[in-house]
Symmetry: C2
Subunit: 337 residues, 2 copies
């Protein structure tokens, strides 16, 4: 079995959980502990990536670049990684992040829109960075479509492509189908990023590794959007038990988890019915509030709206669709009554 | 695929989480909702089974028998199930439970001690109850040993035998090996009871079903010892998505989960480093406090003690072993220094 490389995302995906209020002190402390524990990649960015700090996505307490610099100062052998969603983040942001010490970028696009990552991947490679593609909402496209888009990212020079289960909606078989197909056709490494909305994040990560993924994501104390990500300390314990090498010290990660729980975690990341329905329907958590508003207005069950939105493969920005879907469900109920 | 029968254990395993303080009103409300949602089996007993209310295991707020009677009054088509650990519970308790309305008993023994279940299984069958065997700490015995013990329970007249992952220590391959072997050699149904200490409870339950288990356990909001059990509402959602029939209405279970979270759950059941180490080491949560006391006294890491206890396959009641193990670890450290 190949060495498995973990990217710790608590300081990026976990940013959602703390309303983007990480301080330099927190980032410095957590990064130093992660580095000493042997975590090879540490992602530090606003939850929505570089440039995410805004009225629309929520303002950060401190500028991304300040946090990246704080992390880079204490990162030791670990590589500071940033997330960049083209349209939110720009080439300019990427260069700033590089100057602040970031050495890896994950260029994230919707699973059907890999073509918008070309310029960013090429710029990162020209800067000498590692550049990974990150195909969000990969559950919503067929394995063949995911492969087509991954091949595009490979052709732009990506060093790896991640299958990203943004909504925590994948069953083990969904992970298996996608990673297996990519492994058969790509020449670069494959990664997997999970959310725990269906309580399958650790198990799906094991399936991804079994199918040939060598890059996985975890977050300490499960800090991340929705029901959180794959809980790093649990994943490291399980991989230890299985004899799969990560280079990460379990006890040091456990100590850090105790620190994060005591000092950062605003509420335990267990699976609420809200996050469960997100994973069940396969939609972003940003839809939840809108669905509840529409449900109340039209007098239907918000869960029916979310499930229907999942079937329609709605993406971020299509929140206007919600009221239309609610009205359609209400009409069907009248029709069948 | 066969129909899958779920036993809801929040009113038994979840009893640990509320320090055995369930009231008749709570039990009645939750049972009624579970029954209306279509849950076929509802376990209602002290966390340590019939007769568990004691100084050693914690006194119940209300007598088991009163809670069983309250549940039976509103159970509708659902069957009230009790847990009986021979040595804690007796034949007398079993008859009382039957008179109060229990129609199913799970006779639980350590995985290597199935022989103590004979009299209890036979009595239950004579009363006209369904009787299931429940092999606790099944991770600590080889698949062949689990089979040998399951065959004993079958020979006593058990209608099913459960592989019970009491410490939440099993990897998917551990579940697969055990259920597969039992399925090949038993003529009765096979069940699986999980704990979520390694975040694998849902995934392990899917593996058990895939290997032929038809009886599974869940607990609403994950209410259960250690990191809790398989979260019922999540499991039902996942099985729905997979097209596996449970007869349970998802939305009604989600509504009940919201009620339990608001009114019963004392703290969210996420995975702490304490419960994670239990699952990693494969020991009962009752060892945790003793290990920390011994660690402090002798000056070693409590986690090393727990891992060593797991290797020794200690069982409940062997808490005296802990200080010896701690001293041995301390001596080895001196020896290697």
């Amino acid at each position: 079995m190949s060495q498995i490389y973990l990217t710790e995302v608590a300081l990026r995906d976990g940013s959602h959980v703390v309303a983007h209020q990480f301080s330099s002190e927190q980032v410095r402390y957590v990064t130093k502990q992660l580095s000493e524990a042997g975590v090879p990649y540490i992602e530090v960015t606003h939850g929505d990536g570089l440039g995410g700090s805004s009225l629309q996505y929520g303002f950060s307490k401190e500028h991304d670049i300040a946090l990246i610099r704080a992390a880079a100062e204490v990162a030791g052998d670990s590589k500071i990684t940033v997330l960049l969603i083209p349209g939110i983040g720009t080439i300019h942001h990427l260069k700033e992040a590089y100057e602040a010490g970031a050495r890896v970028v994950r260029v994230a696009t919707h699973v059907t829109e890999a073509d918008v990552s070309k310029q960013h991947i090429e710029t990162a490679k020209a800067l000498g960075m590692e550049a990974f593609g990150f195909l969000m909402m990969s559950h919503s496209a067929s394995p063949e479509k995911v492969l087509e888009q991954a091949l595009l990212m490979e052709s732009y020079g990506a060093d790896a492509v991640y299958v990203t289960d943004s909504a925590g909606a994948m069953l083990p078989s969904d992970v298996q189908n996608r990673i297996r197909l990519l492994r058969a056709h790509l020449n670069i490494e494959i990664g997997f990023h999970a959310h725990n909305n269906l309580s399958l994040a650790v198990a799906n990560t094991l399936v991804a590794i079994q199918e040939g993924a060598t890059r996985i994501d975890g977050s300490i104390c499960c800090l991340g959007a929705g029901a959180g990500n794959t809980q790093t300390e649990v994943l490291v314990a399980v991989l230890n038990r299985m004899g799969i090498e990560t280079g990460i010290d379990l006890y040091q990660i456990l100590d850090l988890a105790d620190y994060v729980r005591a000092n950062i975690l605003p509420h335990p990341q267990d699976i609420t019915t809200g996050s469960l329905v997100m994973g069940y329907a396969g939609v972003y958590s940003s839809f939840l509030r809108h669905a509840h508003i529409a449900a109340e207005k039209v007098g239907v069950d918000a869960r029916d709206i979310l499930v229907e939105l999942g079937k329609l493969n709605v993406v971020g920005g299509q929140e206007d669709t919600i009221i239309e879907v609610a009205q359609k469900i209400a009409q069907q109920k009248v029709g069948s009554a």
